[in-house]
Symmetry: C2
Subunit: 459 residues, 2 copies
């Protein structure tokens, strides 16, 4: 075996101990909140059959699926003469049957359909697992990243929308993020908008265009729609509606007035009012919630509320999103199951929290006490104390080698260990231990019970 | 989109809420122990470059690697004329650069080499992640399964061996598994054995054969070795040594006497004695530890102690293994780094614990209280109490729809929720809540503080 300089695939990352401590802080905050709200854990395989995955994420999504080469002699059943003329896209289905999951939503829908006779509706599940996309890597965009999803299926109660909003508040409170906005819109309001500008048959073009309003501005949105064949009249009405979106944002009542002629639009407004009323029962403060008529999230399967969470005044804004869907499982043969889902993006939350330096320092301490020894006579005493500390629930370790004290203290420093116990012959004789506080540098001789209480008191 | 009956790839599994609760009990027991012993978390990407993975697991292992098809038009750079004549094994390197990790050991070695300037030695890391093998699926063997590894690199102190042994004891205590054996051997003792039968150049054949002793018996081991060209003299000495392995097992002292002429063998015996002495300092009871001269685990990279853990009197025995290695990182250009690693197999532990019915029932309760409501007037009261319970750290949920009480109670039963709170108009008037204990069926009207204390007392 020749020696090589190893590397990892582009768009993927190693997470060392320091990053893991921070990531686990985020994971635990989300997991604890989901559990507090009655969601149960689910995990699905990393690989799915390609017929489950393809056709669910649009043409662009299909191209971003990581496909797994069939095992064994995968060419053996292929006509060799065809191979010289084939193209990648024709060969792929012949040599690959499985792909890595692209998100957690489609595997969840697949699970619900396969296990429909075992699960109790309404089914509340959370799922925290990595997903893979063969996207061009760039800052904040990775080829392997985690999603943290919570979904409730089997009910169309708007209590679920309010619970999702409450969950977002609780997660952000736990993370210490204060300045954020939950943008909310409703698919039926968007459809109503399409109706009143006589563009019901071109909803998709309309939603894709106005979704960009924040980024490209109203004029460019309108000219994009013009180029797609929207009439001058339609655009004039649309301009009038969207123009109202000032600093304060468009109010639901203003939109309601404009949508009075659309039954669909009115139903959407009614839902929105009910969601806001319920949110008011859940929360004392609704100032984070913002109605955003332009929010569409480009996902065609949303049929009700559409949600997006942004952290304000940071580079990477959007850290999560979701919405209500009425027919997620229909494609797998189980129609008419309404549900709502939300997903936090851990990798983006990590970047945001790093930028705002919100990670608590106590998270980085994992080992509390390092035991040291100087010779074989003190080693057994050190090991006995070590095991006693561990039995008391204190994370502790012993430096395994007989090396100079300086090296052992250096190890404790680098590993953020707050206490070092020194056991020399004198300590051994007097049944006392040298306890060194690594942040103050102070060392004192203490008996075992004093040692335990000092270490336990340190948070 | 046509509707299809969905399935999952063979050898993979969905883990629903009930299984997840049990799996998390195992994961948490292992993770907490690793943390208690000063190991820090690490996660590496699911995909590795194929040049990192191949050549590390033997020819058979290479064939079990899941390979990922290159993205985009992967055939575009391949000479089409060659394609009609190529075979799978020649095509694969042209269309696949990445594979899914096969274990956690090689990615860990790769990590250590890539980050050698950032990590502090001795480096203690744990890693709990899935691995993938394109093996033929069968009972207890999956294509996606979890490993839980702990490794210490950068020290050859035998304290590490004792710590691994102590960790195994602590994990099994937490899991409630009492009847298990930690088999231990030493690579140098095996090498000494090869030396005294003049077969130093055929160590591998020897180790592979005697590793099967338990399964196929001494006669078949000897005839396998005979067919591989081991001399009659060698086999006669070997038979004499292995024959001593009676019910009580072979003692280290007996082997020591036989290995007196081999320097390597003597060094192995010395290590073993020291490991046992240290284990005696860590543990009160060494009865789980068994010296097993035939244990080789087929892994050529072990250079010191070799460990295997078996649960006794169950179908699937081996639930973990590990050992010391002196040159794991050498293949990536960093020679001479000694370390020791151990890995628990969660999927096998799960099967063992299921067979022994060791999962504690309290693990299956996730939501403690279900709130119900009968109309819109009681809904707000229910939501307020719901949020108060959650703020007190109690997992609680509300049934989102206005349905018959029977259906709500059924939901609570199926989800193992121990308490249901009923809020009717009368309760509303008297500021009391109907608290139903789901296991006794008893319901009583209580005020809020009584409700909280009853729920909190329930473990």
């Amino acid at each position: 075996m020749s020696s090589l300089k190893p590397s990892i695939p582009k768009g993927t990352r190693d997470f060392g101990p320091e990053q893991m401590a921070k990531r686990n802080f985020i994971f635990n905050s989300i997991r604890n909140t989901y559990t507090r709200y009655g969601f149960l854990p689910l995990e699905t395989p990393s690989m799915e059959n390609l017929d489950v995955l393809t056709g669910k994420y649009g043409e662009e999504g299909d191209q971003l699926l990581f496909k797994i080469l069939n095992s064994g002699d995968y060419l053996s059943k292929i006509d060799r003469n065809l191979l010289s003329e084939t193209f990648s896209q024709n060969l792929t289905p012949l040599i690959s049957e499985k792909g890595l999951r692209y998100d957690l939503t489609v595997p969840f829908a697949r699970f619900v359909v396969m296990h429909q006779n075992e699960i109790t509706l309404p089914f509340k599940r959370y799922q925290i697992q990595p997903v893979w996309r063969a996207d061009r890597p760039q800052k904040g965009r990775y080829r392997e990243f985690y999603q943290c999803d919570a979904d409730i299926v089997g009910t169309d109660s708007l209590i679920c929308e309010a619970e999702i909003i409450a969950i977002i508040h609780e997660v952000f409170k736990k993370l210490g993020i204060e300045d954020y906005t939950i943008n909310i819109n409703h698919r039926k309001i968007l459809s109503g908008l399409a109706e009143i500008i006589d563009s019901k048959d071109r909803e998709n073009d309309l939603f894709v265009a106005i979704d960009k309003l924040d980024k490209i501005g109203l004029d460019k949105v309108l000219s994009e729609l013009e180029s797609k064949g929207f009439s001058t009249e339609s655009l004039s009405v649309l301009k009038d509606v969207l123009n109202k979106k000032g600093n304060e944002g468009l109010k639901i009542e203003q939109v309601a007035a404009r949508l009075a002629d659309s039954e669909t639009g009115k139903a959407g407004v009614e839902d929105m009012n009910e969601i806001m009323a319920l949110a008011g029962t859940y929360l004392d403060d609704l100032s984070h919630i913002n109605f955003d008529l332009t929010l569409a999230r480009g996902l065609t399967y949303y049929t009700g509320a559409i949600l997006e969470v942004k952290v304000n005044n940071v580079k990477i804004g959007s850290v999560g999103g979701g919405g209500r869907y009425d027919n997620l499982t229909g494609v797998f043969g189980l129609p008419g199951l309404s549900g709502i889902g939300f997903s936090f993006g851990v990798d983006r939350l990590y970047d945001v929290m790093d930028e705002l330096t919100l990670f608590p320092e106590s998270q980085q301490v994992t080992t509390k006490v390092l035991l040291t020894y100087f010779d074989h006579s003190t080693r057994a005493t050190a090991i006995k104390l070590l095991q006693e500390l561990r039995q008391q629930g204190i994370n502790a370790e012993i430096y395994p080698d007989l090396v100079k004290m300086k090296k052992q203290l250096n190890y404790a420093n680098k590993k953020n260990i707050p206490f070092v116990v020194v056991i020399g012959e004198e300590e051994l004789k007097n049944q006392r231990y040298g306890l060194k506080n690594m942040s103050t540098g102070e060392q004192k001789a203490v008996d075992k019970s004093t040692l335990l209480s000092i270490v336990n008191e340190h948070n």
